[in-house]
Symmetry: C2
Subunit: 519 residues, 2 copies
């Protein structure tokens, strides 16, 4: 009896501590959670666990550490029927709005379960592939791309997946598919779920879910997104790919060459950590080259590799592929160029070469770069762009354009300011940015913006201050004359009275006074 | 009349000077040449010109400045009927052997006509293509490859073509074809002439010949060997090429990229001049990569380009193509590595990339490298190799292995000694050299040696001293242990009492005492 009594004592002490900690702001929330509310509302803890940790066997989700606004929004949705649940609907309806907020605050304040931080060495199951890599050939980003590493959750709108029961995750994905959870922000989850076949839902839920056996590893323990069996239901109606397909990750040989291929891929997808001495901002290569440089129309590496050496107007000389990569570090990464014989640069060359296996040398491949856009009917406009941004981009990149982080990881990249690409990067050109946005943004919804919207929002993004062009010479005017004298560059032009390129880039906030915002 | 008299006076003065200069050794030769010999031998000058300059209209060849031994051999051949000529046969027969030598000495001593030294900017006619580039797809080396730049003539066995009448050259080529001039040394000219169709003979003779109108330039002024219309008679029976074909030279674009392609080609074929600061010997890249890096089974650049980056046992790491090229300069060229971002290295990369246009990345192409040889039945042997060398190689590379020069140009490369590749070069390995020799040597007669002969002569070549391995560490024994511990390297082994790698490479002579010679 002693152990039981001690456990009870510990639980009671813990509850008191929690209640005490939140006594001032959220006493009602804690009370409701642990003891139930008025009008017969049962204690949340009954199903969601004493610490809000969820209940894997029953399929009840964890609530601990999930964003307050997100939780409150769910209670509101249960109450108004826009999210359907026979269990939660009467509970939510019975809770007055203030109580919903209180109980959401309470659970948001509870510590989230510890999630391991080291990624698995190899992607081993179909579910893991979907969670970690996505299936970009089907326009499907990885779960982690928005929900953060290990599904830790990002900001207010991308709740944690880690620690949720597999049955709960599967049920939610099916609810997105059937519309029982509506569209969700930007319709993202509806679009994602629509691309998942039943087997996909089971696999990814099993991988992400706690308390359920992991999906059995595939016979080939190194299969990747490219190799996962196409799901007829998911792929029905998709045209056969018309572009070059890089080799599957399983083809990387287990030798010194393969080691460099893998290192190159790691540098490409985790640039700030794997090549920290060359990176001066919070971007990674794969921010602008989706699916780790594999995706057609997202400046894939295989197409770039076979197009170099080439003459570049930017440098006014023929550059090798290695020199082109150096430019990425100097401008897009606002950092320093690795030496041509450094392991960093060689690994990226080797990775690109390997992705290009079988592609013809000195050819322009379909899917290279970003698909060029025709000039828009209306000249790109800052105010219209700001509205597009608020409606379609801020969800991920934030109202301030600074992206979103979780733990030490930048999940959504900053689009301007001191932690973004500098004025020498290709993406600072409105035509390049518009082409990228039209084809690839929002993640998983590429092509959904109109061309005019893409031009406008690209103009808006590129009309913000960012780090100085490292080729800066004498003055902004002279630098524009030498390097930016095109209609596509806003460097050296005034937007709402601010001379772009003239100020140190503000950090973690938008530049004040450079345009109207629509928030 | 004054000009005529002055010309006569000049002529007489010149003759006296010549006669005086050769009074001691060759008075008979000069007399015979200018006045005729005993037994009704007419003056050579009657047909071959007062200065031995030949007579284009009559088709009489120039004799001035042509090698004494070569001329004497021709007189002997006319006399014994092994070279057939109704005009020369009775004359040669009438001259006693000593007189033949005397007259040959006389004409050898006369100054050769001035031949322009700058090559044409572009290869413009079919004849020029054959003379300057060859038709390697048909196993046909360029005339200049053996007869030297501008057909200036090389050594004792490769007479000048420059300044010879086109009709004379055409008649000789047809005489090789019909056997009227026999096989010639190694059967080289017979083999070459056999591959020339009638139209080829006319074209190349017209290009090389003096006093005849040059062949009209092709409609496309930039056609090259690859593009010259295949001659049915020459190509009949040749199987269709089974290997990758690089693009024709006419496809090089006229822009900054194309400028680097051309620079790369020039560096490749004229390395000592175009990249002098990186070259420490008398080789050029195209010595080991025939047809300017285009020829299959001769380590063509297009096959190498798509095989890098790759892991190399030699460096124990993955090297990029640029780093591989650096190795060529350090070892094969016994020089210094150009920086990866130097114009020299970039031009070579660009040239290789352009040659590989359309080839698949990361593939092993047929014709790559040199075709590997099976181990020989008998272990490679120095003495047997020396005999093969004397019979098949010395004609071009010289009895001393130092190749042959004309003017400032090394026409045939030195195979050992201070002006050849060093102990770090791939060609110092017996298997590599044997594979190269079997497939490509003698020029235009690739495949004619047996495999055993190739192994033996490669062993002989690689058993000579050459410049130190730049990776030398501590001692020859230690250096062998670190870099040469294979059965294919003779570095650090003793051959006839000499420790290879232990002595500074002798210049312009063979290493004494390292083996028996058969000369």
């Amino acid at each position: 009896m002693f152990p039981y009594a001690r456990a009870c004592g510990t639980l009671i002490a813990a509850l008191f501590a929690v209640v005490h900690a939140h006594a001032a702001a959220a006493v009602d929330g804690a009370t409701i959670a642990q003891r139930g509310g008025a009008e017969g509302v049962p204690a949340c803890a009954a199903c969601h666990g004493a610490h809000g940790e969820g209940n894997a066997a029953g399929g009840f989700p964890r609530l601990a550490g999930i964003g307050r606004d997100y939780l409150a929004r769910q209670l509101d949705a249960f109450a108004d029927g826009s999210r359907q649940s026979p269990v939660m609907a009467p509970i939510a309806k019975a809770l007055p709005p203030a109580d919903r907020t209180a109980v959401a605050s309470y659970f948001a304040s509870l510590p989230a379960p510890q999630i391991g931080s080291s990624p698995p060495a190899r992607v081993a199951s179909d579910g893991e592939i979907l969670a970690v890599r996505g299936r970009w050939s089907d326009g499907l980003p990885a779960c982690e791309r928005c929900h953060g590493p290990k599904g830790a959750g990002v900001g207010l709108d991308f709740p944690p997946l880690a620690g949720q029961p597999a049955t709960y995750i599967a049920a939610q994905l099916r609810a997105w598919k059937t519309g029982a959870r509506g569209q969700g922000p930007l319709g993202l989850m509806r679009a994602v779920a629509d691309k998942l076949a039943d087997a996909d839902v089971d696999a990814v839920s099993a991988y992400l879910g706690s308390g359920a056996p992991a999906a059995p590893a595939s016979a080939d323990a190194t299969r990747t997104a490219d190799e996962s069996t196409p799901r007829p239901s998911a792929l029905a109606g998709h045209p056969a790919p018309t572009h070059f397909l890089p080799p599957p990750e399983s083809a990387i040989p287990n030798n010194d060459f393969g080691r460099l291929v893998r290192l190159g891929e790691r540098i490409f997808t985790d640039t700030g950590n794997a090549a920290s001495q060359y990176v001066g901002n919070d971007l990674r290569c794969s921010n602008c080259h989706l699916d780790a440089g594999r995706l057609a129309n997202s400046a894939p590496l295989w197409a770039a590799y076979v197009a170099y050496p080439q003459y570049r107007a930017k440098t006014r000389e023929v550059n090798t592929y290695g020199e082109r990569l150096q430019g990425c570090f100097m401008y897009s990464m606002n950092g320093k160029a690795p030496a041509l014989d450094s392991e960093t640069l060689i690994a990226l060359e080797v990775y690109s070469y390997w992705l290009a296996t079988g592609a013809p040398v000195n050819a322009h491949l379909a899917g290279a770069g970003y698909p060029k856009l025709a000039k828009p009917e209306q000249a790109p406009d800052y105010a219209r762009g700001a509205r597009v941004y608020a409606e379609h981009c801020a969800l991920c990149h934030g109202q301030d354009g600074q992206g979103q982080r979780v733990g030490g990881t930048q999940v959504f990249p900053p689009l301007w300011g001191s932690r973004s690409f500098n004025w020498g990067a290709g993406m600072h050109q409105v035509n390049t940015a518009a082409a990228f946005v039209k084809a690839n943004m929002p993640l998983g919804l590429g092509g959904s913006l109109t061309e005019q919207q893409a031009w406008d929002v690209a103009y808006f993004m590129d009309a913000h201050e960012r780090p100085q062009d490292p080729r800066f010479a004498e003055s902004v005017a002279e630098t524009r004359k030498r390097f930016h004298d095109t209609p596509e560059s806003l460097y050296g032009l005034s937007v709402d009275g601010h001379l772009l390129g003239s100020a140190p880039a503000p950090s973690r906030r938008t530049l004040a006074g450079t345009g109207q915002r629509d928030r």
